[in-house]
């Protein structure tokens, strides 16, 4: 027979109640379960794969669920060289992702065209989509990607969950 707790509260209820702001709660949930859309276009994608392997383990940050359907993803990780031939396809997949969505430009190519100053390569994916985090490197190490992801999480935590990310919805209301 267990003795009733000497402390004067019901631990079954009190321990499970948290007071917070809805912004903080929503942001906390969003930032810790970012499902990436892996846009692996060139060599950087290998480092993206390494980041999800056990050694670097991107799932520690809640972002291991690589979704190959844009409908289920939150963050597009553009990892690699965006050729003009691919550019509109990337844009189209971005448009198919539901709001709220974020974009990480991983590596020199995705950020600026990298070493390809050429007729065939888009000079940075930010010509087509709004990029939240740029990661330097050619390729960036998986740690750099994790760092970028944590920066993005910080950014999300600082946003107004509804106002910033669902502006059209707020306007409609």
């Amino acid at each position: 027979m267990s003795q009733p707790s000497p402390v004067a509260y019901d631990s079954k209820i009190e321990g499970n109640v948290i007071f917070t702001r809805v912004d903080a709660a929503i942001n906390w949930m969003r930032s810790n379960s970012l499902w990436p859309m892996p846009m692996g276009l060139a060599c950087c994608a290998i480092e993206l794969m390494a980041a999800s392997s056990s050694r670097y383990d991107i799932s520690r940050f809640g972002a291991e669920v690589m979704r190959f359907s844009p409908r289920q993803s939150d963050v597009m990780i553009v990892a690699g060289t965006v050729t003009y031939k691919m550019a509109l396809a990337v844009k189209r997949i971005w448009d198919q992702m539901p709001e709220p969505k974020w974009c990480i430009a991983m590596g020199a190519c995705a950020s600026s065209g990298g070493m390809y100053r050429s007729y065939a390569v888009l000079q940075g994916i930010d010509h087509l989509l709004p990029v939240d985090v740029y990661i330097s490197g050619c390729p960036p190490r998986p740690e750099a990607l994790l760092d970028g992801l944590m920066k993005l999480q910080k950014k999300i935590m600082g946003e107004h969950a509804l106002e910033d990310q669902k502006r059209s919805l707020v306007d409609a209301l």
């Binding site: 031939k85 509109l88 065209g113 390809y116 100053r117 050429s118 007729y119 065939a120 000079q123």
Partner: protein, 203 residues
């Protein structure tokens, strides 16, 4: 059969079509007339055992006449022998070469690449479409008069291109006969003069 034997047999058989035979560091090259490419290619494949087409490439002798040239690299698996056929392509505006894709199926994609990058068309090719760029792209990017940074173009819903900002930056080769380090220095900022002396002094 050695490469030299093959060259001798070809010279006996196609005396009128072979313009020049050369040998450099063990590699044999034959300059042939473009009209006899198919005939010679078939003979090489059927009689001389060149069962493998290693590569097809094309050259742009910009400013020269004739401007374009085709290069075929043949290989015989059985003898381990390599042979190169070269043929200049007449016509600067609309260069046409015969297709060898029925002799070696691998020529299909090689010829599409030559068509895509250099704009040489192939007579008798079963499916002459662009292979790297998209249908509707208006330029041939490996021609010498095509700028490194590209040209703007737009095929709605398919793809667009813009000129890349070179800004005299590190991707621009300095016109000099100096060594690579001088021609393409590893560090150069946009706006730096294209003068080789500066980099010579530094290195």
């Amino acid at each position: 059969m050695t490469a030299q034997d093959s060259v001798t047999r070809l010279q006996e058989r196609f005396a009128n079509s072979i313009l020049k035979a050369g040998e450099f560091r063990g590699e044999n090259s034959l300059s042939i007339k473009i009209e006899s490419v198919r005939e010679i290619a078939r003979f090489c494949r059927d009689e001389l055992g060149f069962d493998y087409l290693l590569d097809i490439s094309s050259l742009d002798h910009f400013g020269g006449d004739p401007r374009f040239e085709m290069v075929y690299e043949l290989y015989s698996m059985a003898d381990g022998v390599h042979l190169r056929l070269k043929a200049v392509v007449p016509g600067e505006d609309n260069p046409v070469a015969p297709s060898v894709s029925d002799l070696w199926p691998t020529a299909d994609w090689h010829e599409r690449e030559v068509f895509d990058m250099m704009g040489i068309r192939f007579e008798g090719h079963p499916d002459l479409r662009r292979i790297l760029m998209w249908e509707g792209y208006p330029f041939y990017p490996l021609r010498k008069d095509f700028p490194l940074e590209g040209k703007p173009s737009d095929v709605p819903e398919v793809a667009f291109t813009e000129a890349a900002p070179l800004a005299g930056g590190p991707f621009v080769t300095i016109p000099t006969d100096g060594i690579t380090e001088v021609r393409e220095p590893r560090a150069r900022r946009a706006g730096d003069p294209l003068s080789p002396d500066k980099f010579l002094a530094e290195s």
